[in-house]
């Protein structure tokens, strides 16, 4: 998955501030696209959250969403390699159901290539 893939995905939705692909096995950010410049600390924070969600005692697999008044952070494990996680930062009025479906398709497409 390239940065262009993430940029195309992000452009398809209002209130989608950032999309990132994280490698939770290595704890690193593989690529990202964002509306404004994001500091490395912010990306690392998001990556650390993905690791805490899917590589801890939590009985989570597949998808997780941290949702609150300032918006949502979506985390989706790639079907091909669950250690790779698509992360998205969304505003409170984002169309979360549509974004979740599209993120799932993005993961499936990656699975076929």
């Amino acid at each position: 998955m390239t940065r262009d893939d993430l940029a195309r995905f992000r452009a398809g939705f209002a209130h989608c501030e950032l999309v990132m692909l994280a490698d939770t096995a290595a704890g690193t950010v593989l690529t990202f696209d964002s509306a404004i410049h994001q500091g490395q600390e912010r990306l690392d924070d998001l990556c650390a959250t993905a690791c805490a969600l899917f590589r801890s005692d939590l009985p989570a697999r597949g998808m997780a969403v941290l949702s609150g008044p300032r918006g949502s952070r979506l985390f989706l494990q790639m079907p091909r390699d669950p250690t790779e996680v698509i992360c998205a930062v969304l505003g409170p009025r984002a169309d979360l159901p549509a974004i979740c479906v599209a993120a799932g398709r993005l993961g499936d497409t990656e699975n076929m290539t």
Partner: protein, 260 residues
Amino acid sequence: MTEHPSIATILSQAAALGTDSQDLAAATAEEARGFVLDAIAACIAPRELTILDGGKPMLRLEAAAGQLSRLLDLPDTAPAEARALSGQPLTVKELDAVARALARLLPGDQRLQCRSTPPAQPPDPAHPGIGVDALLRQLGLIPPDRAIQDRWAYLLGAAEEVLIAVADPGQAPRQICPDRLMTATLERQLQALLAPPAPGINLLDKNEILFFTLKSDPDMAIGLAQDGPAPRALVIEAGAMAEVAAFWASLSHVPVARAP
């Protein structure tokens, strides 16, 4: 009491709104009016806001420090009294006329968009404008944080149809949906989530819920929230997780109609 929102409130609203132009399919009048008032409240520096309805410009206004400072362009469908105010600095004396115009222009069932640009000229500091709280009151609306006393109970009520179980700290999980039996595995998982050290609780900010699909049953999802120092949880159908999470995120941004 001042009409000016605190800087913390303004910053929090601005952060919530992000950086893109905003848009919303506003099904109800409350959503449509809340959308425009939220955009005004989020203006720290002076901004010119253009509200589009179905892609066409409908209303242009100026806002600063969370106040509506001027109406700039209104359509012919707006009340004549509001059109007469176009371009003039607003004060609370014009509250009634402005609220009537917003009520007329924002009936709901609209595809709204808000574009924000720097104003052509700085607003007159002698006329601070009309506060969002005053506009909400005049429109018969209550800010959601004031209207909803118990957000968790409100969520449980709204998600009733997809709710499978609820677990409160120190209590056994309660099954809500009799058709979906709570397995022993799920019960154990809930108890492990709620018992110290409560994995997941450190990930939560104030008023956040962590939703995730379950490793043991992909058709189910858990929502984990903080209740004071302890966590509490709900179990829902996984297919409804995104919708419930979106509802929770929008809860602070849609005002509630005051009871007549």
